[in-house]
């Protein structure tokens, strides 16, 4: 039973983390909120006074807004589906007895160590380039017309690049979960003559649900913020402009800090809707 003493000690121990994060959240957030109600154009002299909700109206009524929300959700959703689907398969495979398991595991987790800028550059130039890329060489070797990945399949290409980076993370978490699965339970089911698919559906998958939720939560946080992959590959062209990227264009390319800040506020709202939704599920799954 926790005593009064240990409660106050606990509070003191938590204080630095809470205070720091509160500051990190509130200070920029307040400044962003202030900017978002201003006409703030650094190239035209900076702060040009209050404008009420103009920036908010303008940001949403811009023809780029809804497509960017849609793009954001497609990228996040696409990456989640791919990494979890292949993550489950891969972790089940890695759980099987084999020779050189350690080396395979090293190979599989390697992409996680590559910085996003580098992976975007490598994929864009050395694989997806329609003339000199490796895929183009491969396609030509089979007599096919090389695919123009980043323009014709732009969203898919970005999802592919990001999935490659995050598949190791999903696989690792799912692998630790699978390893904790009671193998006797599986064997018993096998003895009873349950086919592999239903063994997977009724024993493995429920066991993994918790791990999957966690993968979804953590990856979503990171995926909502992806930037380098888009900046390097398409710069937002060909329908790959996410909400984050749209804000970047407003703040840094157009140098309209007010408008961009309003966009930032919308992004925070969107992120929190996603977060609440996720935390409901996670919260349920995390209760022990």
């Amino acid at each position: 039973m926790a005593t009064q003493h240990s409660r106050s000690a606990a509070r003191i121990m938590m204080a630095p983390a809470v205070i720091l994060l509160l500051g990190w959240m509130l200070i920029p957030l307040t400044m962003t909120l202030v900017f978002s109600f201003k006409r703030y154009l650094p190239l035209r002299g900076g702060d040009l006074g209050w404008t009420g909700f103009d920036n908010y109206v303008r940001f949403v009524s811009s023809s780029a807004f809804w497509p960017s929300v849609q793009t954001t959700l497609i990228i996040v959703g696409g990456v989640l589906i791919i990494t979890i689907f292949f993550g489950v398969l891969l972790s089940m495979l890695l759980d099987q007895p084999m020779w050189g398991q350690g080396i395979v595991r090293i190979l599989v987790i390697a992409p996680f160590f590559v910085m996003p800028t580098v992976s975007a550059l490598v994929w864009k130039n050395m694989f997806m380039d329609p003339v000199n890329g490796l895929f183009a060489h491969l396609w030509k070797a089979f007599g096919a017309q090389p695919i123009e990945w980043l323009s014709d399949l732009s969203l898919f290409s970005i999802i592919l690049i990001v999935s490659w980076q995050w598949l190791p993370f999903a696989t690792l978490i799912l692998l630790t979960a699978i390893q904790s699965l009671d193998s006797e339970q599986l064997e018993a089911a096998e003895m009873d003559g349950a086919p592999p698919l239903s063994r997977f559906a009724f024993i493995v998958l429920p066991h993994l649900s918790r791990a999957i939720t966690i993968v979804v939560l953590i990856q979503t946080i990171f995926l909502l913020a992806i930037f380098a992959e888009i900046f390097v590959t398409t710069s937002g062209a060909f329908g790959t402009r996410t909400l984050t990227y749209l804000i970047f264009q407003r703040v840094l390319e157009s140098q309209n800090v007010g408008l961009g800040s309003a966009g930032g506020v919308y992004a925070i709202i969107l992120a929190n809707i996603v977060a609440i939704f996720l935390m409901r599920i996670v919260g349920k799954n995390l209760d022990t």
Partner: protein, 276 residues
């Protein structure tokens, strides 16, 4: 009890797993190979795999143009510093959340995570102005603090889930024996928590090392880490695949090697409470 498997099944497993592992690793391998080619060989059709004249020229060119060690050192300091600082702040917080939970613990945890949802591009301008005021632009201190703050929620959460798995009875027993709070943390909790802490440390180091938005936007010359180093090779004039590959290899090699050596630790603790 080990499951008995036929050799045949094991062979198939091995073949499939190695093939997939190779496929996933291939982009990195290809980058490393290309870094040893000349620019003309790098775009040769058909592609050259192993049989070309291996050269170190690209590395020499990259090193001559930019002082790699300086970028590397900045990366090490920033990633390392933010990790140590983050752990110092996160361990007590996670400890108290795990062992003295209150009704609001879960809410606080979720709130912490939600601070990570603040879009960086949206707050760049405020942070930039703030950094000017505080004189933190282009300093390793400033960047270390930012890296620590953006990763703190993940660290706290990871440690919290790990600490929670440590059975409370052991602590109870220690307390009965008259152990103080300090002793409890130092002699009982810490040894049990080391795998989790090690794994958290590694994950945080990797995340800080690879972060490319703040590190690029808040630095100029003095504190620029490897993410800035790469930005000067991204699309220069003329053929550049080989030089880009060399620069890329230099940027990812340290973390790749660290990751490989410590992958056991990383894997062991990377559960985020996924296992129950």
């Amino acid at each position: 009890m080990a499951r008995s498997v036929t050799t045949r099944r094991k062979t198939i497993n091995t073949a499939v797993a190695w093939a997939i592992g190779f496929l996933i690793f291939f982009p990195i391998l290809w980058t490393i190979l290309t870094s040893f080619k000349t620019e003309a060989q790098a775009i040769n059709d058909p592609p050259l795999f192993l049989f070309f004249d291996w050269t170190l020229e690209n590395y020499a060119v990259v090193q001559e143009r930019s002082d790699y060690m300086r970028f590397l050192w900045n990366s090490v300091i920033i990633a390392g510093g933010s990790t140590v600082l983050g752990l110092m702040i996160a361990i007590p917080a996670a400890w108290s959340m795990a062992f003295v939970p209150s009704k609001r613990t879960k809410d606080i945890l979720m709130w912490m995570l939600s601070t990570k949802m603040l879009p960086a591009v949206g707050v760049l301008y405020p942070i930039y102005l703030l950094f000017i005021q505080l004189g933190l632009l282009d300093t390793r201190t400033g960047l270390t603090i930012v890296m620590m703050l953006i990763n703190l929620p993940i660290i706290v959460w990871m440690l919290y889930t790990y600490f929670k798995e440590i059975p409370g009875e052991i602590l109870e027993a220690a307390r009965m024996d008259g152990a103080s709070l300090k002793e409890e943390i130092l002699y009982i909790l810490t040894p049990m928590a080391i795998p989790g802490i090690a794994s958290t440390m590694l994950l945080n180091f990797i995340l800080a090392w690879n972060e490319a938005f703040w590190t690029l936007n808040l630095t100029a010359a003095k504190a620029a880490p490897l993410t800035a180093f790469i930005a000067s090779y991204s699309s220069p004039e003329g053929l550049f695949y080989a030089k880009l590959s060399a620069a890329s290899t230099m940027a990812i090699a340290p973390i790749l090697i660290l990751g490989w050596f410590s992958q056991k630790q990383l894997v062991r603790g990377l559960t985020f409470g996924a296992v129950k």
